[in-house]
């Protein structure tokens, strides 16, 4: 714990303690919500929204529009967003949407049926081509998109988690051939003061067979150090990330084992250059495309870099996220996904969603929601 942390803790408490039980005003009696015009109109508005969506989908289906041809080299035909939203009755739901990569137009949309989104859930989507995997907490869904992007199938599946409880997902990645899922997670056993795990699950999506690599970490401070995961070809994974080094592990064997079997790569986070995502690794594991955070505070930008896995050196900086002014507040952007070796980038900038192509930012329709994930 640093002096800065101590001072921050002390000052926050000092200010918070200005509010006491006695100083808080009595609760206000609110006018019944149903009497508000907006409340009366809410069901009508909800119905109108549903009708509009159905009409839009029907119209799109009738016109049979295919995605606009991707004119830029390496730009995938579509991207998929998964967004948690709240309706007028404040019920949360999860929606997957396929968008045209060129203009962001909605090609297909589907709800996750019967999926209660708990506050503790968070989203990740991985994949590419026609197959994506969505994780919502420990709930997993397979999402198959038609080649033209105009329809999708969404189905839940489960894997044998180990250890069985208290796991927190850190990263999810689908292998390049779409047959195997790599999941990094951390967990605590029954005595969380003494026992923590970092775990890598390798799951065959065709047979359901799972192999596990794990290691015990020494303290809660080290938990989640395993971070993100990415594939190098179909036999190796690279894992690590925030505040740690990256490691390469051969997962082609029939059994799991210890995470210590992984080879540590000379690519690591450093102050002012923190690894924030690990999306792409070349099949021979020689080159890694990742995003790092340069600087800090409101001026922070994420740089998309091509790095040598052998030397740990930056081969080149492909791009940097823009710095966007939203509601008079400068906002840095967060990278959701890379495509074509980092040439095309999906970004969320506060509530603005967009695409970055060789330094050119294009705002796409829709908003970057607070709980949202996206993948090419």
């Amino acid at each position: 714990v640093t002096d800065l942390e101590n001072c921050l803790r002390r000052d926050l408490n000092k200010i918070a303690e200005r509010v006491t039980e006695d100083s808080i005003r009595p609760l206000r009696v609110r006018r019944a919500r149903r009497t508000r015009p907006a409340r009366l109109l809410a069901p009508i508005a909800a119905m109108a929204a549903v009708v509009a969506v159905i009409a839009g989908v029907s119209l799109a289906a009738h016109t049979g529009q295919a995605p606009a041809p991707a004119t830029q080299a390496g730009l995938p035909l579509y991207y998929v967003t998964v967004t948690e939203s709240t309706d007028l009755q404040e019920r949360t739901s999860l929606v997957a949407t396929v968008h045209d990569s060129v203009n962001g137009a909605v090609l297909a949309r589907s709800s996750f049926p019967g999926m209660p989104v708990a506050p503790e859930g968070w989203l990740q989507i991985t994949g590419g081509g026609n197959m994506f995997i969505v994780s919502v907490g420990l709930d997993l869904f397979r999402l198959r998109v038609a080649p033209d992007g105009r329809s999708m199938q969404l189905s839940p599946f489960s894997i044998p988690w180990h250890p069985a409880g208290n796991l927190q997902l850190a990263g999810v990645a689908l292998s390049p051939d779409g047959t195997t899922l790599a999941i990094t997670a951390s967990g605590a056993c029954n005595s969380p003061q003494t026992c923590f795990y970092d775990v890598l699950h390798i799951v065959s999506l065709t047979t359901g067979a799972a192999r596990t690599w794990s290691t015990q970490v020494v303290s809660a401070d080290d938990i989640y150090a395993i971070g993100q995961v990415g594939w190098a070809g179909n036999d190796h994974v690279v894992f690590g990330g925030v505040g740690s080094t990256l490691s390469l592990l051969n997962v082609s064997g029939r059994r799991g084992g210890s995470l210590h079997a992984a080879r540590v790569l000379p690519v690591s986070s450093s102050p002012g250059n923190a690894i924030s995502s690990l999306p792409l690794v070349t099949p021979d594991a020689s080159t890694i495309f990742l995003t790092t955070t340069n600087g800090s505070g409101p001026e922070s930008v994420e740089s998309i870099k091509e790095m040598s896995a052998r030397t740990g050196k930056t081969i080149r900086v492909l791009d940097s996220t823009p710095w966007i002014q939203i509601e008079a507040v400068p906002t840095s952007c967060v990278v959701y996904a890379l495509a074509a070796k980092g040439v095309h980038v999906l970004l969320g900038c506060e509530n603005v969603f967009g695409r970055l192509d060789n330094g050119k930012f294009t705002r796409l329709p829709g908003k970057a929601a607070y709980n949202q994930s996206a993948a090419w």
């Binding site: 001072c7 200010i15 808080i24 404040e90 503790e120 800090s296 840095s332 607070y370």
Partner: protein, 172 residues
């Protein structure tokens, strides 16, 4: 509040009442640190508990009620900032700049770490307040903000680095 929830009846009412009794003060303080104004903080927290009461049966686990109401409080604080930003844009002369008012806690001491929090992006501010005021661990912050634990770690690191940088500049 207790009357209100008991009128609606059921185990939900009792659970919400318990949460209210045990965490109301702490949540008002949390909201204060985010919006810098006691009255607004009280409104935000009352809204959050009303939302919890309405949405109780949609919770996956009753034990997640506290995480839910914390998230609601933070959502409410974000809405306050958004509304203020929009109002400033359209009628700046009508909007009192809360963060500069005399009783605004966050600006009470511009040399403090807390005042410097105002300079951080929203997400970093939230993570640092949850970490260093509520003493939540990474998993709890992730649950509250609905982000990945790895994102919590990186955001906290960036936030602290930004604060440190702010002080280095201030010292120069």
């Amino acid at each position: 509040m207790a009357d209100e929830v008991s009128r609606r009846g059921g185990g939900a009412a009792a659970a919400v009442t318990d949460l209210f009794r045990d965490h109301h003060l702490e949540l008002v303080r949390l909201a204060l640190l985010m919006v810098g104004d006691v009255a607004t903080a009280e409104d935000v927290v009352q809204d959050a508990f009303e939302s919890l009461q309405r949405g109780w049966h949609g919770l996956r686990r009753p034990s997640s009620g506290l995480a839910y109401v914390r998230s609601s409080v933070l959502n409410g604080c974000r809405s306050v900032h958004r509304r203020a930003a929009v109002a400033r844009r359209h009628a700046p002369e009508l909007v009192e700049p809360r963060e500069l008012s005399a009783d605004t806690s966050l600006a009470a001491d511009d040399r403090s770490e807390v005042a410097a929090l105002r300079l951080l992006p929203r997400r970093q501010r939230e993570v640092l307040v949850l970490r260093y005021y509520l003493d939540l661990d990474v998993a709890e912050i992730a649950a509250t903000l609905r982000i990945a634990p790895s994102a919590v770690r990186s955001t906290a690191t960036r936030g602290l680095a930004a604060l440190a940088q702010h002080y280095r500049r201030a010292d120069q």
